[in-house]
Amino acid sequence: MASFILRRLAQSLLIFIAATYLMYLLVALSGDPLQDLYESSAPNKQQLIDARIKLLDLDVPPFLRYFIWAGGLLGFTGHGFGWMGVNLQGAPVNTLLAQAMTSTLQLVTIAALVAIVLGLIVGITTALRQYSAYDYGVTFLSFLFFSLPIFWVAVLLKQYLAIGFNDFLRDPQIAWWFILIAAPVVGALWTSIIPGAPKRRLITFGIATAATAVVLVYMQLSDWFANPHIGPFWIVLTAVGIAFGVTAISVGLKRRRALIAALVTAAVGVALYFPFMYWLSYFLNEWLLILLGLVTIGVSYAIGWFMGGDDRKPVARTTALTGLFVASVTVLDRYMSVWQAYTNSGRIKGRPIATIGSQTPGLEGSMWVHGVDLFAHLLLPTIALILISFATYTRYSRASLLEVMNQDYIRTARSKGLTERTVVVRHAFRNALIPIATIIAFDIGGLVGGAVITERVFGWTGMGQLFQNGLDHVDPNPVMAFFLVVGGLAILFNLFADLLYAALDPRIRVS
């Protein structure tokens, strides 16, 4: 394994170096960086041209200039390790990149996470419900998403989702006819996902419709969109639901011990709701929140460990997940609690969903307010960005799970008398994940590429802009800085996928 990793590492590094060389040549040969100066009418034109030639070593041909650039990157030019040169104006690229990177990576990371989670869930459910109306619907949607131009969707999202929703927020009334139509539609959706005999389907339909109607009526009556909240009552309800749901999927409801442990974890989470909301959350920052999340996982794992009885690990896993989800809902409620203050603040003026930029300049407030601000700015670009990835992951996870479900060991597992849940979650799902891991890793580079377009439409000053400005002015250094990040990520994730694949599937290492 160690030699495999080393070999693979060396290979990736060489490929990356070659790719940067190729990229450098392509950019440097794509035009004349002195074009704007030749056309200028400045009196000191010649002087400016000479200065730029000296600044960017333009007297050296590109295939040699690369080595000056690479030497600078390795710290041979006296600027320290990682020096990426200056742009045409003489500003150091490192500073530009540092500014640009945060917003883009934030966008890409969140988009990737959302696309993975949604894509896996939808892909797996469609595979289990193959050839149902739900499956056909999702298949058609994923074909549609494959065919959508991102920039076109982005403009539509801006117009209808953002402006439409902001208009709606001015007077957030859910019309009664909307509730009457939406509730049965949601009910029908759930019925197509959850299978069963006609009687059971009817019950599913009834429950889903009623639940949707109740939630919508509650939202309407409590003026939810003006003042979104979850509140203690719904927290208790969701916590119990989470405990049952997580237990049902991870170990099955038949294991009473696990169910009780999950419920205890949920109860602890609910008990900590008020202290968190009205005391602890005022002292937190981003890092402390993450730390608190880790502590939550640890504590709930411990609860499961001590209550687990003979077979502790699965129970502890269940309680850890339950604890994490309950805590997430609580944190979500905390974010919602500042929503009203955020929308009514002078900077936002009641139109929260942003169409331009990556943050509201000059916004003051706690970490929670900034979180909401981030959400409002990330919402549209994320949707625009994940459409294609979501479609890809859905298709691949569906195909992969179907492939696995046809294997002989699944037949064996079934004939041993294992429950359907065990067969799907333990035997099929884990094996189906192996090929999906590769696809996802492969897709990350493309996601950053897609971010170039998304950023352009939404007016972000991110890496896409760095890339485009650099390219427009035949300025290799910013473009190369962009490529170092994008290509580096692509290489890194591919390497990661290969190692993961080798770790998960021992057959790979043999060949």
């Binding site: 490929i15 190729l22 193959q130 494959f146 403009v155 179907l402 493309g446 590429g449 962009f482």
Partner: protein, 392 residues
Amino acid sequence: MAKTTPQAPATGDATDAQKDLALIEVAGLSQSQIVRRRFLRHRGALVSMALLAFIVLLSFTSVGTQIAGLRVGGWWMWTWDQLTPVVDGGRPTMSLIPFAIGEHPFGQDEVGRDIFALVMRGTQQSLMIMVIVGLLATVVGTVIGAVSGYYRGWRDSVLMRFTDIVITIPVIVVGAVLGRTYGIQGAPVLALILGLVLWTAMARLVRGEFLSLREREFVDAARVAGASDGRIIFRHILPNAVGVIIVNATLLMASAILLETALSFLGYGVQAPDTSLGKIINENQTAFATRPWLFWWPGLFIIAIALCVNFIGDGLRDAFDPRQRKMPTERALAKAAAASVSGGAAGQAPAAAEAEAEDPRLREGAILPNAIVPEEDRPLPSPEDEPEGDPR
């Protein structure tokens, strides 16, 4: 316990019937006939073919075309670079009730160009780029994949490392860099350049296909019979890999049209005075609030073309690769069961649950593994090439 979907046959003999059905349907047909039949059964693909043909015809006949300065006129009253007086703020004149097309069915832009003519010209450009990119990338990818998969050794190492290098650069990035350099020279040049970028996935797939096919018996037989490398590659292996190649060529075309429009949107694709669908959207995105028709039509045409190509690709995949094909309906199964009286009544196997997904034995059926072998080179039938009975 076991969840069954409504489509899942409930008894063991139903799965036997499935296999019989799979056999009946291909009995006595050549590979190409089987593929054509399956493709024609895919309704989405057929509708897409018709729609795509309509779009191609419409775009080329309506405004004519221009190739290297030579202009051929069409039946539409305006051309894409003709300025006409703006009527009614450029609003579209097309309406359904009462049905009317009018002078400017898709409306006009600020300077009075007819949007229908513009969109048609853009569609032409996008289609042309799509086809050129698809063909070029397929040829390059197939050659590279075939050489490295067939010869292996140092050729494989060199070519695959080169593929790795190219694949590291996201297509939109390398497309933008090359488009900025060559986009000014017109759409065909841009298409050629993009084709030289998009072949990587195809090369990897073809290589994988060749790696596995070259180990098959019919290749050994051909080699023993004294066939040259070229003959083995082109007459023996390539026809068996053609399914993978064609399917991925269509998917490649769909991504090519999206890439072209994205590049034109960013300003690195087709340049003025010519136009493309992405360019029209880019020029008019700020006008969305006031003149949404400038924005809707080019987008709808991009989606229509990409969706059609994707569906055709799906139909081709179904036709070439029975692994992902749809299970026969219960009615067809019952028919087949009635037609072929198989003695399966005894086996009430617990097949219901596993039939939830498609039956794996269908894959081993007589459909795919029978290699296409040229008549004169056909080797002696080996037992492995014959369809086996029930593996159980």
